[in-house]
Symmetry: C2
Subunit: 810 residues, 2 copies
């Protein structure tokens, strides 16, 4: 059997290849075993050694690290899989990436990248010689080095081994519109207990074999997690089979610890799985397919935890139990017996056969991995910025809402974004997807269905609308899956958007945080090319969830994104459609950010022409002269600031009331689109200069700030600005809803009437007529409260309010 030369796709019939793959000869077995032993040796070295990396002298306590960290238990299994997939790639030219769900087996993946040479290419100091190996060992889980798990620093990874649950969603996202890619996704039996992971097996119900690549899940059952057994590890194997068959997989099982038997058997099941994948893809791509969901293969690998490690320590069984999860031998510096076990254990891999005199891997080890970009540690798919193409975006100005006068007419802003995305879909048939938990239509983004169905591989009924196997709009009722798929899609270089209900964005908040950490860390690594930004659109916002009530009102994700660093975090609150289009265009063109856009889906007042919107959004914040009574010649009596669509309307309405009822009272209206203009420049790169800040907010005049989210967000953002205490923030406040559950009552926290009273109360100068106006506001509130209970909707002067022809542009 001849290896296919580097980067050349298989030309022989796949089934013949699979047959050959299934039956490795003795030379191949020797190569697999040598490579595997080398990887295991390097794994243990990373955990334990700070000297004597090749065991050229007897091991002494001084060679042992002061603090033993890392996870041995899962590592040999991860390395075994890596070895066999490497052989598969070398023989087939298959493009593949490797996602390690049990990411705490980081040293195994680092070892693999090192043995491939990929690690040294990126980090030249970690050279393939004795000095480099020692650096490899010392950097692991050490100050100035690398974390103990698979991380951004690990070549070939798009999957951090920290928070568990996302290995399959990342894998499925990576292969969407990536027909030639195979994602090997190892699922640990610990991770398999998490909700997000259990919810992600159904990725196959959304994967089109003609257009998308393939995911090969390998469920690696070794029975235990940190300190106890796992559910899948201890269930009747027939139940585990039934479960995965029920998810839609063709379950292939392999089990054992005998050698070289396991090499033969694993080679056979991997070949079987690959052959089945190729058969499914060939049939789908050559037209021999009825369109039904294929039954994709899945491998269950049962192997001992800590396999090839010390069987017993201090008379207690370690290998095969939870005791080998982390560091099976502790106190090695002080315990001569443990030190001796460690040395025997290390020597059991026969390092002298694996590394030459200089410390470089021997030819027998190097014979296994593929070359060049086919190495999983060097795959451009796992450094997706290298493959990123600019999105083809039509001119967003073509979707502008016509705004004759500010605040005079209503439109559904997100509908315009839907139209823009429809045309983005058309121009980017394999480079853009929208991900949304079943709410694309509800969020008024349904224009995309004019050009793409929703992806769905289960049974489609004649009555279905916009559902089908060729669809590329991704709807699944799981924020975790939507978010994770998009991350996988982004990290392999493609563009997209996650649109979801604001209140339930907290479901996947931890993913937003973790992806932000990934992007931020990647900025420190010159070899990681920038990838498309993670774009998150929140609709159905707190202020419009009157009917759904309290549990559907939660602007918490803003707060979460604010904790991320300025390098990557962006929060936009466009007040109308033209601003939304301008912001969205910017976000689609950006790289390696987390862009959070918050805007409601209901019909809402429109303020700015497209030209004005572009200027406003470019600045991020600005004075709306037409809304206020501020002539700019001196400080106003009050600044009414706002960020967020509904509160902007209330602010404009309040300013209008003041204009009409308190002539001579000088009101300045400031709207903020880009929330990150508020902090100081040293706290965020978007932070406006002190001069700009003063131009908008003055240095001393009180600011009544109406904010879409929790008031504390503004308090923390303006910290350090001149006299920050003068910012009076009205925002969303959690309150019980039983007696007053609804929209207008919540909105009243920042209603026009409250804002007018706030303006009066905080103005340095009490204008004539102020007391009467405050009384009128109280009366309006009381009147409105009574009206909504009687009529079950807002009173007309609130419901249908607009500026009409009262506002003129300057």
């Amino acid at each position: 059997m001849t290896a296919i030369s580097d980067n050349q796709l298989a030309t022989r019939a796949d089934d013949e290849t699979a047959r050959e793959l299934a039956a490795p000869n003795e030379t191949e077995i020797a190569q697999l075993d040598a490579w595997w032993r080398a990887a295991n040796y390097l794994t243990i070295g990373q955990i334990y050694l700070q000297g004597n990396p090749l065991l050229r002298e007897p091991l002494t306590p001084a060679h042992i690290k002061p603090r033993l960290l890392g996870h041995w238990g899962t590592s040999p299994g991860l390395a075994l899989i890596y070895a066999h997939v490497s052989r598969l790639i070398r023989h087939t030219g298959q493009q593949a990436i490797y996602l390690a769900g049990p990411g705490h087996g980081g040293p195994a993946l680092v070892a693999a990248g090192y043995l491939e040479g990929a690690y040294t290419e990126i980090y030249p100091k970690i050279s393939q010689d004795e000095a480099g190996m020692l650096r490899l060992f010392r950097q692991f889980s050490s100050p100035g080095g690398i974390p103990s798990h698979v991380s951004v620093t690990t070549p070939g990874s798009i999957h951090e081994g920290g928070e568990l649950g996302y290995v399959l969603v990342h894998a499925f996202g990576a292969v969407m519109d990536n027909p030639d890619l195979l994602a090997i996704a190892v699922v640990g039996d610990g991770e398999a207990e998490t909700g997000p992971l259990e919810g992600s097996w159904k990725g196959v119900s959304f994967l089109n074999p003609a257009r998308d690549g393939a995911v090969l899940p390998i469920l690696h059952l070794n029975d235990a997690k940190i300190s106890g057994p796992t559910v899948l590890g201890r269930k009747d194997p027939a139940e585990v089979r039934a479960l995965l068959h029920g998810h839609g997989y063709d379950v292939i099982e392999v089990e054992g610890s005998d050698l070289p038997g396991m090499h033969y058997r694993f080679a056979a099941v991997l070949a079987e799985a690959w052959g089945k994948i190729r058969a499914i893809q060939t049939a789908a791509r050559e037209g021999d397919w009825d369109g039904s969901r294929p039954r994709w293969p899945l491998i269950i690998l049962r192997s001992p935890k800590g396999w090839t490690g010390p069987d017993e320590v201090d008379g207690i069984t370690v290998t095969g139990t939870w005791r080998s999860h982390q560091v099976p031998l502790s106190g090695v510096r002080d315990n001569p017996e443990h030190l001796a076990i460690l040395e025997r254990w290390l020597r059991s891999y026969r390092p002298e056969e694996l590394f030459d005199d200089a410390g470089a891997p021997t030819a027998g080890v190097l014979a296994l991995p593929p070359r060049g970009d086919l190495r999983m540690g060097a795959s451009p798919h796992a450094n997706g910025g290298l493959l990123t193409r600019d999105l083809e975006i039509p001119d967003f100005r073509d979707y502008a809402v016509d705004v004759e006068r500010p605040g005079a007419s209503r439109a559904e802003s997100t509908r315009k974004l839907g139209e823009l995305m429809r045309d983005v879909y058309t121009r980017n048939p394999d480079n853009f997807r929208l991900f949304c938990p079943d709410e694309t239509n509800s969020n008024r983004l349904g224009a995309v269905f004019e050009v793409s169905d929703r992806a769905f591989m289960e049974r489609v009924s004649p009555g279905d609308v916009a559902i089908g196997r060729d669809g590329r709009v991704m709807e699944v009722l799981s924020e975790h899956s939507c978010h994770g798929w998009l991350e996988g899609y982004n990290l392999t270089g493609r563009h997209g958007m996650f649109a979801t209900y604001e209140a339930f964005a907290m479901v996947s908040a931890s993913q937003t945080v973790q992806h932000g950490k990934w992007l931020q860390e990647a900025r420190n690594l010159p070899w990681r090319a920038e990838v498309p930004s993670l774009n998150v659109l929140l609709t159905s916002t707190a202020w419009r969830n009157d009917h759904n009530g309290f549990s559907h009102q939660g602007p918490g994700l803003i707060q979460v994104v604010l904790t991320q660093r300025g390098d990557i975090a962006r929060v936009y609150l466009p007040p109308d459609a033209n601003c939304l289009l301008s912001v969205a265009d910017h976000c689609f063109r950006s790289r390696s950010y987390v862009n959070l856009i918050v805007i409601d889906k209901q019909p809402q007042l429109q303020y700015l022409t497209m030209d004005e919107a572009i200027e406003h959004c470019t600045r991020g914040a600005g004075v709306w002269e037409w809304a206020g009574t501020d002539d700019g010649t001196s400080d106003p009596d009050i600044v009414l600031a706002c960020a967020g669509d509904v509160v902007t309307m209330e602010t404009v309405a309040a300013a209008q009331i003041l204009k009409e009822r308190l002539p001579g009272f000088k009101v300045r209206v400031v709207n903020v689109v880009d929330l990150m203009t508020l902090p100081r420049p040293k706290d965020h790169p978007h932070g406006m200069s002190e001069t700009q800040f003063t131009e908008l907010f003055t240095d001393t005049v009180d600011v009544v700030f109406s904010f879409h989210g929790y008031p504390g967000a503004i308090h923390q953002l303006v910290h350090g600005r001149p006299d920050a205490d003068r910012f009076r923030v009205r925002g969303f406040i959690e309150k019980g809803t039983t007696t007053t559950p609804f929209d207008m009552t919540v909105r009243n926290q920042a209603s026009r009437y409250h804002l007018v009273m706030d303006a009066i109360n905080n103005a340095k100068r009490l204008p004539r007529g102020a007391t009467v106006l405050k009384q009128w506001c109280e009366q309006q509130l009381a009147k409105h409260d009574a009206y909504i209970v009687e009529h079950l909707e807002d009173m007309p002067e609130v419901r249908d309010w607009s500026l009409g022809d009262r506002a003129q542009r300057g």
Copy 2:
């Protein structure tokens, strides 16, 4: 077949009862059908009507609400199940609660409570007559009324129908240690797509039939969600069966829409399921059990979406499709044809048979439900505060760490908490549980295993430690399951704690938020008795995750809890073991709060004796005279404040450096345990008075505040305090970790050396020797940076630092 009288448990043989239940006679069918028709009628009335509730006159546009809200699609199915379970209860005396996963079918559950009389008992204005019915209709999804989904206001509910995914975890939590309770948990096929729900089927792997009650999941497949099909709805039914069989269930299926056929068939499958549950429980409780996991029954109900609604509207099929998900008939006020369809639809239930002249339910309808507390809308299990017993807590002072001098010795603080919880377990054998994702030992709480194993119903091996069917420590590698189980346990009146890694607390942050909303809303409802608080312990904190790196460092949950209202949110940062014990005791005794406790698990310096700790924690914040050089006679030169264990150590160390190296420089050290003492009293009930605030922080002296979490949290908390801008916060800052990934580097953000320099830079008076000291600090930082790279651990003077005998109590 005779109904068992109220609240009397079944005495006849269960199998005979099950046989009778399986075969309702015609009278019973008529009762079931009448009740079901009444519930459906009331559901539609809630969605559509604001007048003419009994259709005593022809329907006109004026009778229709201005805004049509609510979800019809799932409601008839929910009501059918409710009807049949009511019959089951009436015949068996079974204690049961009903959890509606498709909680948007709120009107169906409200209708059920109304027909039982439970609703009127709680809300007398919603009387069982025409006027009350009209109020019932008008309040639904209206200002001043109730939300559109099952909510805190719904009698009989412990499960909000907002964020999807938690119906099974709530159900399993409710039945733990509740042997007589049956939780009917309806899972919608939309919710079934979420990760948390998919992860929660495995609750049966942790349920002990001898000690716990039973969950009967009813997977209600009606094929569609808001605007498209569902995966389980469209999968081959054999796959769905395999999936649920794989999870460990005995799958019973029923399908159809024919009437009364479906009544007969549903009665039969419900009887079968109940009989199997009773058989499992009887065997387990009477000793006829081998200890293996039972195969619990589960029902799959396939019925049309919007069942009994209008088949077609405008020539398009509605019933049985996603079009009936919400409001199947729109524009009813303006469209006479739709109005006519609505009237026909309402009259199809023959309301004149269901309600008498006064508008009260007729005897035929009232014959179905059980009486008294057995009504699901009146079950005390769903108003768990009624059943809450105080936790028996040993005197926490007995677990005190002996602290001879402050800052002189180290202890693992959480280990003490583990010992306290061990004895709580012993004293409360059915009233307390610890929930933890596989980290009880890692978090140093393992003392609980001296008295309780981990619960586990799958295969147990001889080598397992502290694993078994009788265990009551709940470990599953799912934050969602742990959190949700505890919520269910709490809401049914029992106590517990969720202990988890700080960084991954964000996984279940949305659950923390939603449960907080529940508790807050419940405070507005006098009939809802207070329940035990949700106690969340975060360990393995950001500051000690050097080796795990960036992805394991995230103090975000503090930020999330801060957004909750003062009524329910509490955040504690005990600096040592004695404070932790005092705080934990307080939290265990509290009711209806979300208590967040943050402390690391590593050995850490101890400062306060138990008496001091109690005083300090009672105040929530205080001056540590022994740490500073402030004699209290005048303002100090600087205030060093701290909240959080690691940053407290750094602050004490910085104060010591200043004491020794800048004699005459007056430093005050303030430690904050209860974060909510910082805001103003009007913002949080724990907020200290302005006088107290000034006593601690002065009015004008700069405060260098070392905070465990993100700095913005302190900025927002001190907003409005005198000259809040003088607070300089050092806290956790997100930063890439590649070049400097580790603990000390992160900790350096608030390291003693940085704090000393901050103190000097911000003091109003520059003391002699300050410049030299700053240089020394820079040198120390450089020296430490070099040391950790060389030696892979902190330099000894940092690693082993303590106050030794230098500090004396005042």
